[in-house]
């Protein structure tokens, strides 16, 4: 039973360590990612601070050394110490220098502001700037806007430990031992988001005197070095990341169960910590950045045949991202909904604007007529989907089902799911005994659990969803039907106790999905069962002297379901 439970959970284990990337805002603010270092360190994560990857939606302000020396470690709260350490370590100066450094002249210069502005500019902004007398200075203003949005993410690790059987409370049981073989590690801590607070000195213009390095003035340099740049705490979020020491934790578990030699090499601490730190930051971004200002694209639909919009990788656009098309209506406070669209072909626009970027292509999911200039807004979607439906067929997998799937971070458009099926199966045994005149069916109340992996393939408006899974079914023969009669008691057969059935094996199948709206999909499914243990009853029944085996082993199950997408 424990082995079966683990086999059922195996696909979930495969994906449990995959980080979900939820980029819910089009932000293009700059960020530096630091890892804390203490006098006596709770983890060695700070060694790998420079391995952290800044998400593409941010300007990368990584420093040469991304460790932040804090002081003495406190087991309760280190936030005030971290804030003080940011100032003590002159992080403001270090970050501004990365922004103001001009590699061409090997000097710190305000000129780089133009480049930052040009990077931020849309094609329209760029063309207007070039048609203006001030030209690049227009773009500089946009660069200044970015200066007001400089952020620091501080990863404060608390624990980096082995997940052993003791963690589960019983080191003698088989489950715990199997988990031991998977050799998982756990990294815990908190991530803090701070903002470099220079709004005031930008308002009174003193900021420009502070960074006026062009004249090689030592006084300016000294004043800059001595300035106490403050940081404002925006948000914080705890994290808890587990990862297998081997390439595949699930494979380890299965190898252990099947008693097969598993000689996978173990990951080093560097590999583990680098991966876990990145997962922790990726997972936390959506929460951390929820209070940051939206980066407004301000551009509408560029073209309608096909639908094209000038957003792309710079705005973290990904294939299949959902956008809502709206339009401003005079006299109405709220923009009016027009249609839902999804990204099809994502353009590469991560370069400084020259007024000629390639738009990304979208397709319409549902809604009305889309016109040039209408507003396109990104609608964040989370990875969970839920389906309810009904399976028809003479098998233990027949009945009403409820299904929950989760979009894994590993393979694009691939989901891992679990399905519960509860219902009544029916098997026809009439031909075995009486021929067609007297039909006899056995009815079973059944409950099933199935785990699976599916993948979505887009063909126009239709979605083809192949899947593979593993199921475990239990059933109980509750009564039988004769032709024209229902629910006759089993005692008629001389049976005084429940006849139990069980089966387990693999499912392969496919669904065809039709999108009914933004978040609703109608699916027609077919599942083919390959039982490893077919559902036979524990005893043979006899009708008069004729032996009968009620077998619920129909291979195909048809189903129809309604899916709520991405919530």
């Amino acid at each position: 039973m424990k082995r079966l439970t683990l086999l059922i959970l195996a696909p979930l284990l495969c994906f449990s360590s995959q980080a979900q990337t939820v980029k819910n805002k089009n932000l293009r603010n700059s960020i530096s990612m630091l890892v804390t270092k203490y006098t006596s360190n709770p983890t060695s994560a700070y060694y790998y601070a420079n391995e952290l990857t800044v998400p593409s939606m941010f300007d990368d302000n990584s420093l040469n050394d991304n460790t932040l020396f804090v002081g003495d470690y406190s087991i309760t709260d280190n936030s005030s110490q971290i804030e003080a350490a940011l100032q003590r370590n002159k992080m403001g100066q270090q970050i501004l220098k990365t922004i103001l450094y001009n590699a061409r002249t090997n000097q710190y210069t305000k000129e780089v502001m133009f480049e930052r502005g040009a990077y931020t500019a849309t094609d329209n902004d760029y063309k207007i700037a070039m048609d203006s007398k001030k030209k690049e200075y227009v773009l500089k203003d946009m660069g200044v806007w970015l200066m007001k949005n400089i952020y620091v993410e501080v990863v404060d690790c608390k624990q980096f430990i082995d997940l052993k059987a003791e963690t589960y409370g019983d080191y003698t049981n088989e489950y715990a031992n199997v988990l031991n073989s998977a050799q998982q590690k756990l990294l815990t801590g908190t991530i803090y988001l701070y903002k470099l607070d220079i709004d005031e000195i930008l308002e009174d213009q003193s900021f420009w005197n502070l960074i006026d390095f062009e004249n090689n003035n030592n006084e300016v340099q000294k004043a800059f070095d001595n300035y106490n740049f403050k940081f404002k705490k925006i948000n914080s979020v705890p994290f808890n990341i587990t990862e297998s020491k081997t390439a595949s934790g699930a494979l380890s578990v299965i190898s252990e169960l099947l008693k097969v030699d598993n000689t996978q090499p173990l990951k080093t601490d560097k590999q583990l910590l680098t991966s876990m730190l990145n997962k922790a930051t990726e997972k936390s971004h959506a929460i951390l950045c929820s209070s940051l200002p939206n980066f407004s694209i301000g551009q509408g639909v560029f073209d309608v045949h096909p639908i094209r919009i000038k957003v792309g990788k710079k705005e973290s656009l990904k294939a299949n991202n959902l956008y809502e098309i709206t339009e401003i209506v005079e006299g109405s406070e709220k923009e009016q909904h027009v249609a839902w669209i999804r990204a099809k072909k994502v353009s590469e626009n991560r370069f400084v604007s020259k007024g000629k970027s390639t738009p990304s292509t979208f397709y319409k999911v549902s809604g009305g007529s889309i016109k040039k200039g209408m507003t396109a807004s990104y609608v964040p979607q989370k990875g969970y989907e839920v389906s309810v439906g009904y399976n028809e067929g003479s098998s233990l997998l027949s009945g009403t089902f409820v299904e929950l799937t989760y979009l894994g971070g590993g393979i694009p458009k691939t989901r891992v799911g679990v399905r519960g099926i509860f219902g009544n199966a029916k098997t026809d045994v009439s031909e075995n005994i009486f021929g067609v005149r007297d039909k006899i069916f056995f009815n079973v109340s059944n409950v099933n659990i199935e785990t699976f992996i599916n993948h979505t393939i887009k063909i126009g408006f239709i979605r083809l969803i192949p899947k593979v899974g593993f199921y475990y079914s239990m059933g109980r023969i509750k009564n039988y039907d004769e032709k024209g009669k229902t629910g006759l008691p089993m005692s008629d057969w001389g049976v005084t106790e429940d006849i139990k059935l069980k089966s387990w094996g693999f499912t392969t199948g496919a669904g065809v999905g039709l999108n009914l709206g933004k978040n609703l999909q109608l699916t027609f499914r077919y599942d083919y069962l390959s039982p490893l243990d077919p559902p036979t009853s524990s005893r043979t029944l006899t009708y008069f002297a004729i032996p009968i085996d009620p077998i619920f082993n129909a291979k195909g199950v048809y189903g129809v379901g309604l899916t709520v997408l991405g919530f």
Binding site: D123, S132, G355, K372, T375
Partner: protein
């Protein structure tokens, strides 16, 4: 009797459908003397140009954009644009539009000479904040940035004796 009522009902319904589907009434910006547009100064442009954002009305995006080019020139000639170097209209003579009606009809005709002095200062896209559906959804109001060659425009009008040269008074 019933049949007559039915026929009358169908006719009324059809008339209602026909009139409700008619495009909204819109004055031709080429001949209209009303100022049914808004112009906002954006920046001083390169070599005697000025950048304006012009909000114009039309039945579709193309009409709005074409009207914006024309309205930008009209605003400079007859209205003046606050905040820009063209605060006062280029043609200060009262009733000049009527006096030179034939000239301006030709100047502003479809594909006319006014197009030599105005160009879109965009990549062809419309800012979603500048696209507004008006009058029960039958008209669009779109704002678009245009670049007007005001120096060349002035010279053209001087050559055509519509306005006097700035140096003529000396």
């Amino acid at each position: 009797m019933k049949r007559s009522i039915l026929v009358a009902g169908v006719i009324l319904f059809n008339l209602f459908a026909i009139f409700s589907c008619r495009p909204a009434k819109l004055a031709d910006p080429r001949t209209s003397t009303s100022y049914d547009y808004e112009v906002v100064f954006i920046r001083t442009g390169v070599a005697g140009t000025e950048l304006f954002k012009v909000f114009s009305y039309g039945r579709n995006e193309r009409e709005c954009i074409e009207a914006s080019k024309l309205n930008a020139i009209k605003a400079i000639l007859f209205k003046g644009i606050p905040g820009s170097g063209m605060q006062r209209p280029m043609i200060s003579e009262n009733g000049a539009e009527e006096k030179y009606r034939d000239y301006f009809n030709d100047f502003f005709r479809s594909g006319g000479r006014y197009l030599n002095f105005v160009a879109l200062s965009t990549d062809g896209s419309i800012d979603s904040r500048d696209r507004i559906k008006v009058k029960n959804g039958k008209l669009l109001k779109i704002g678009i940035v245009v670049s007007v060659q005001k120096d060349n425009l002035r010279k053209q009008l001087e050559d055509d004796k519509i306005i006097k040269s700035l140096s003529s008074g000396f």
